[in-house]
Symmetry: C3
Subunit: 339 residues, 3 copies
């Protein structure tokens, strides 16, 4: 039997993703009980989490399983990730051994590890996540890495379908927002990939210097074309970005080009504090009716104004709720009754 990891949405075929979304819809309607009895999910958080942790722990429980929270470096050991390392420093366990051992206790592993490498060329390979997937004999689920957040992307796709009905040809705008920190590109890339897979017209709005990784952009373009969607790249103007949108996905991310140069990155970013979703910009969407999405946590009045977040266009809480339903479906497929 070959184990099935879930490291990126695009690793699964469109049919498989469709099947997951259908199953998630049935789960949400309360049609599926049980299916994870005696199953254990070990969740490894190398970075903090609220939604991912709570939704997966709830998902396992609701179907009869159990999730374990591990925080290396806090309640458990600090992990070494370098192959061949002579471990005479601070790390007390190699990821190779942790992955192998956890694979004996648990039925699947969830791993959250944000970029740690000094160099984007290294970080973009998601070394921690890939090591867990390589050395653990059980399925590994990406709980957010440097490049991908496929569990968020699944919830995003479910939300787009729920709120827009037919998604084909509708306009999905991913718009950058200012944020006090340089965040990973995992969520914006994954959200755009999800929308592309739904055949939407994709717009990416960001200030100069904040292009996504070129490979990700190319993949978004390719997926959009394959799904009958389209790709339009708007540069430089947050006021134009939202015009005619059916869905506005607000997200901040750091400059990939200036990765590893925090001083320069912050200086560049400082010029773009105006990139924020305001009520005025929301009115420019198709009929002023676009749904407003964000993966949360959101910096209120920095990324999105209170009036927008608390208004009728915002679907951010439904989007967060859909994390639970899509994850229940995912777990049932990967280690449960539907596998």
């Amino acid at each position: 039997m070959i184990k099935r990891d879930f490291l990126a949405l695009e690793d699964w075929s469109r049919d498989e993703v469709d099947e997951l979304l259908s199953l998630a819809a049935r789960v949400k309607r309360g049609e599926i009980g049980g299916g994870l009895e005696k199953k254990v999910l070990a969740m490894i958080f190398m970075d903090p989490s609220l939604r991912t942790r709570t939704s997966f722990e709830t998902a396992m429980f609701l179907h009869g399983g159990h999730a374990i929270v591990l925080e290396p470096g806090k309640g458990s050991w600090a992990l070494e990730t370098e192959p061949g390392a002579v471990m005479d420093g601070d790390t007390v366990e190699h990821i190779v051994d942790a992955a192998r051992v956890l694979g004996r206790y648990a039925d699947a592993l969830g791993v959250r590890s944000f970029p740690r490498a000094a160099d984007w060329a290294v970080a973009r390979e998601d070394p921690v996540l890939r090591s867990f997937a390589k050395y653990c004999e059980k399925p590994v689920i990406n709980f957010e890495s440097a490049r991908r957040h496929p569990c968020q992307a699944l919830a995003d796709a479910m939300t787009l379908r729920e709120k827009l009905g037919q998604t084909e040809g509708k306009r999905f705008v991913l718009t950058w927002a200012w944020h006090p920190k340089a965040l990973p590109t995992a969520v914006p890339a994954s959200a755009a990939l999800a929308a592309a897979g739904l055949g939407m017209e994709i717009v990416i709005a960001r200030p100069p210097g904040y292009e996504l990784d070129p490979e990700d952009t190319a993949l978004i373009r390719r997926l959009a074309q394959q799904s009958g969607g389209e790709f339009v790249h708007i540069i430089d103007d947050p006021d134009e970005a939202t015009v005619g949108a059916d869905a506005v996905y607000v997200k901040s991310w750091g400059s990939v080009k200036l990765y590893g140069k925090p001083g320069e990155e912050a200086a560049l970013r400082a010029g773009f504090r105006d990139w924020r979703l305001t009520p005025a910009r929301l009115r420019s969407t198709r009929g002023g009716k676009a749904i407003v999405m964000h993966c949360l946590p959101v910096r209120r009045n920095v990324e999105i104004d209170d009036a927008v977040l608390d208004g009728p266009n915002s679907v951010v809480v439904d989007q967060a709720e859909n994390r639970l339903h899509t994850e229940r479906a995912l777990l049932l497929k990967v280690i449960g009754r539907e596998s």
Copy 2:
């Protein structure tokens, strides 16, 4: 359906509290199984906990449910509590969004948040707890706030009934104790309110400057009168405090008047190190037989002497055990089969 929060004991009617206590007694006798199947309690600890955490986690499990432990700022995000805040600082998620999202995953929220405001006028409004209650669509249980600890109060009431039988007219002495820190007044106020609701004669002993919040004192007096009890306020003398008591509840708390002035408060407190329950003072109770109560954790030989804590009068461990039984009853009422 209107959700039912449990923020303070006095928010529930005397009949409702009586019903909770009866249900808790049945739970303790092992008469109630199940009732929380598929239910999830999200527990948010902004301050540490041993009893609350362990008893609620056990309570959920014993009836088929599951409790999730969240510690904002540690394993999950630091929460912003200010309405309308421009979140460009350290907090990464607003309590409004956390409350809304958790309400989608969990069936109830438990929230522990000790006072953080610089000013008692603000702290006494329990802004964190009240925000969760306001923005979460599911019931919120107070796991101890600046002003109230109703779960402790329920266990206190159960213990008083168990140990004293008829409580009406018996003398309940709440006596202040010295402690190296200025603690919240939630426990002493809640304990006195619970005893007042049981029709007891209430005595509060504390050094000058350590009066409870005047509104709380007035409420204790009113509740005692309504329940056929009485209110006697003794000032200034730990040796007189315990005379004739049926129950002595020892607890330290900080000066409300000097709230936000830690230097002055510590200086005032320094003069009262003698406020400690000793064997001699215990002998002054009714027949030397008063039960000794404390919510724990207790500073041994600082608040209460070892000889008292380890002696036959102490009911502190039974009191802690009753946390479990009353919480099982509470959960069954709020989100379970008895709701």
Copy 3:
């Protein structure tokens, strides 16, 4: 009914240990379901853990029970361990009260506490563990103390039996390894005691100054003799240590003689960096076929070379897996259906 603690393997009779190992084998074959319904294990980690935590949490769940993770000083209160302490300092709860209260909520306690005392004469008495066992009315399981790690020893015994078949007369080599820190002697002492109980020929190899506690050495010798085994003590040479071995157990530990003198200990240790299990040394074992054991976490290329750990002789992952099966058996015996 007398509660049954599990503080050291040698506290249980050979027959009882044999029974545990047989039950563990049946558990591993999937022959035993349920047996811990409505049971709660409170796990107190005063030091970090990956395997112990994950395996016990999984063990409880797989049989219908629930494990609670408590980390005093982190999510819960810092514990005082000194009897009679006047608690006006940093510790907020005495171990006496924590033990009593947890005994009311949980059916058993697991306690991990590495040595904290300044003096080995005190540390070797395992004061934290012993206090929990003394004051808690429910069974206490040692999750690793200064002197013993009996849960690891059980898994070691199971692994030796699985891999070697008949263990009697086979050569078990416990060999010291260099490590950047001075670690407790709990694992090496417990492993050697387990092997001695299986009637093996025991060899302990360590540099001068790294003798185990003399009482432990005497006990290993006595147990070996009682079980029809033998005790050979080799001094000073890591190349000779492994010659003719059937099982090589690699482990680092700090000098008991220099306990409490970290500077002197580190200086002595510095001379022994060559104590490491290399492929060459492995080839000197019986037919080059000895199994290689380690309790994990292991410092790769410091205690054991990658080529050994990732080669066919290594059983460290099976050994870690056996933690789960032996702990399931232990829990069934101590608080479950087999008790």
